[in-house]
């Protein structure tokens, strides 16, 4: 190789050399494929696939802890069935009450992973790379939302499956037990779907407002904790003070409302901590409304974000 001095080599002119640059003449898949790809990539990222081992720690440990109790119940199903016969079993987990009892693990899951989903792109300012291609802003937001919802749905359903297996094994005849158990378990699917959508939409909508993971995480956690605690406090004070409007406040709690909506799916009445003036259907409506609201916030955020 010799270093040629371009000025000395000849008259100042320019030309573009054909280095065999290949044009792409093949099929170009459109928006849907782009959105689907982002969805899959995002879902994998939430569980840490395609990332170093340390990225798998948080989601798997947290989701594992959430499922842990169902697995324990499964393992001890024979002992538990004894206690049920004796009438001493009180605190077993069922499909309906599982999330209400252990939902805080999923709060942790969302706080850990939702910032990972939406903050990186903002932090490193790569959003233009997405938006200048087939994908629209709406697609981006919805794909991210779908991925976190799917991840949460999976995390929610694992213990359901464990409970199902446990309940089936408790009976004498496994196949007959499955027949009776399945209808009892089925409402878990739509209930958990709603739960997943609700938590995902809240988490992403709030997390997307800051490019820094730490602030998003804290803000999200603050939202979950405060919106659980404060309405309940005001409601309990209001009860004694005779404020009837305070009943409605419980509708604004994210996790408790989901518990109420789950009760609706299973057709069981609300527990005593809920105000008596509202039925489970009110919570169903509240949760669906919250999904719509926060999805709208998320879409709005990504429409307005500068990229």
């Amino acid at each position: 190789m010799s270093a040629t001095n371009p000025v000395a080599a000849g008259k100042p002119s320019g030309s573009i050399y054909d280095l065999g640059y290949r044009h792409y003449e093949g099929k170009r898949r459109g928006r849907l494929f782009a959105a689907w790809s982002l969805y899959v990539d995002s879902l994998r990222g939430i569980w840490g696939f395609g990332r170093p081992m340390s990225a798998k720690a948080a989601p798997f440990i947290i989701a594992g802890l959430y499922s842990f109790f169902a697995v324990i119940q499964l393992a001890f199903s024979s002992v538990i069935s004894q206690s049920i016969k004796n009438g001493t079993a009180t605190d077993i987990f069922t499909y309906g009450n599982y999330f209400s009892r252990l939902g805080f693990f999923l709060i942790l899951f969302c706080v850990a992973q939702a910032p990972e989903v939406v903050c990186r792109d903002q932090r490193y300012q790569v959003l233009p790379l997405y938006f200048t291609r087939a994908m629209r802003r709406v697609d981006y937001a919805l794909a991210r939302l779908a991925s976190l919802s799917t991840a949460l749905f999976v995390a929610l359903m694992v213990p359901m499956v464990a409970l199902f297996v446990g309940d089936v094994l408790m009976g004498a005849d496994a196949f007959a037990a499955m027949g009776t158990e399945l209808p009892r378990a089925l409402p878990a699917i739509p209930a958990n779907l709603l739960t997943a959508l609700s938590m995902a939409s809240i988490s992403l909508a709030l997390s997307s407002y800051s490019p820094r993971r730490a602030y998003s995480a804290i803000g999200l956690l603050a939202y979950f904790l405060l919106m659980e605690a404060v309405p309940a406090i005001i409601y309990s004070v209001g009860q004694q003070a005779g404020w009837t409007w305070a009943d409605k406040l419980v509708l604004t709690t994210p996790i408790t409302s989901l518990g109420g909506a789950t009760n609706w799916f299973f057709g069981i009445p609300l527990t005593s901590e809920f105000p008596s003036t509202l039925g489970a259907d009110a919570y169903l409506v509240a949760c669906v409304a919250s999904v719509c609201l926060f999805t709208a916030v998320l879409l709005f955020r990504y429409r307005r974000i500068s990229a």
């Binding site: 720690a57 730490a214 804290i218």
Partner: protein, 255 residues
């Protein structure tokens, strides 16, 4: 060449403290934290409006569930992991370390800044809420407020002491810190009483007992135990952080 001082330069520690303050108090962040801290005060106002002036009821509902469980840990996690957060995130820690400053001073300054901010925020929050709600309740109310302030101070110091070294050891200090407060102190403590010895929440509540029996979920530690364990934690955390900083090495990788 301007003079280079050889000996005692006390101004180094406050210098780092000051810069950490500026790092930790961004405009948006400060605003949100103030809102967070104002919440217990608002709730206290609501309590008054409802005509509710029972010390124990208020304590159980507001102090316990909001101040102790939410405001304190969140503020401490934010300030505690944020003390070294910017440095470890962006690598600006090189600037601090490439100075002839003893490592323990760096740690002390950072932790001090975080602790001061956390204490200021939480104590103000609890005190104001107490003024609204508890003081009218008489001598009991006064002691209760003192106890709550004490709990906030001990809690702030301990949480910050925990989170500052944590942020030096792992990049996921925030999640781990949140997991600690949610899972370890929240759920597990209810299941396994022995955990009280390792729970900052219990240190804080135990310390508060020195002033007044707040009767929040039975503080299982006596004030003496609580103070001792808290002190041990702070000293151990400080030593750990200093050790870590002394052994600091840049992560590997190509150019």
């Amino acid at each position: 060449m301007t003079g280079v001082s050889m000996s005692a330069s006390v101004s180094v520690l406050p210098e780092i403290v000051r810069i950490t303050f500026r790092q930790l108090l961004g405009r948006r962040r400060t605003l949100l934290l103030l809102l967070l801290a104002a919440l217990p005060v608002l709730l206290a106002v609501i309590f008054r409006l409802a005509g509710e002036i029972d010390v124990h009821s208020y304590t159980r509902r507001v102090f316990d569930t909001v101040s102790m469980t939410i405001v304190l840990p969140l503020a401490a996690v934010l300030f505690g992991t944020g003390a070294f957060g910017a440095e470890t995130d962006e690598g600006t820690i090189l600037y601090l370390l490439a100075k002839p400053v003893p490592r323990w001073i760096i740690v002390a300054a950072k932790a001090l800044a975080a602790a001061m901010l956390t204490v200021a925020l939480t104590v103000a929050s609890v005190f104001l809420a107490g003024v609204v709600e508890l003081l009218p309740a008489g001598a009991d109310g006064l002691s209760a407020t003192e106890a709550q302030v004490g709990a906030m101070i001990v809690g702030s110091l301990c949480y910050v002491a925990l989170f500052v070294p944590l942020s030096l050891f792992t990049r996921r200090a925030l999640v781990i810190g949140i997991g600690y407060t949610l899972v370890w102190e929240g759920a597990l403590s209810n299941l396994l009483p022995g955990i009280a010895n390792l729970s900052i929440r219990q240190y804080a509540l135990g310390a508060a007992d020195a002033f007044f029996q707040l009767h929040t979920d039975p503080a299982r530690l006596s004030p003496m135990t609580a103070f001792t364990l808290a002190a041990v934690l702070v000293v151990a955390a400080f030593a750990l952080a200093t050790w870590r900083l002394m052994r600091f090495e840049l992560p590997g990788g190509t150019d």
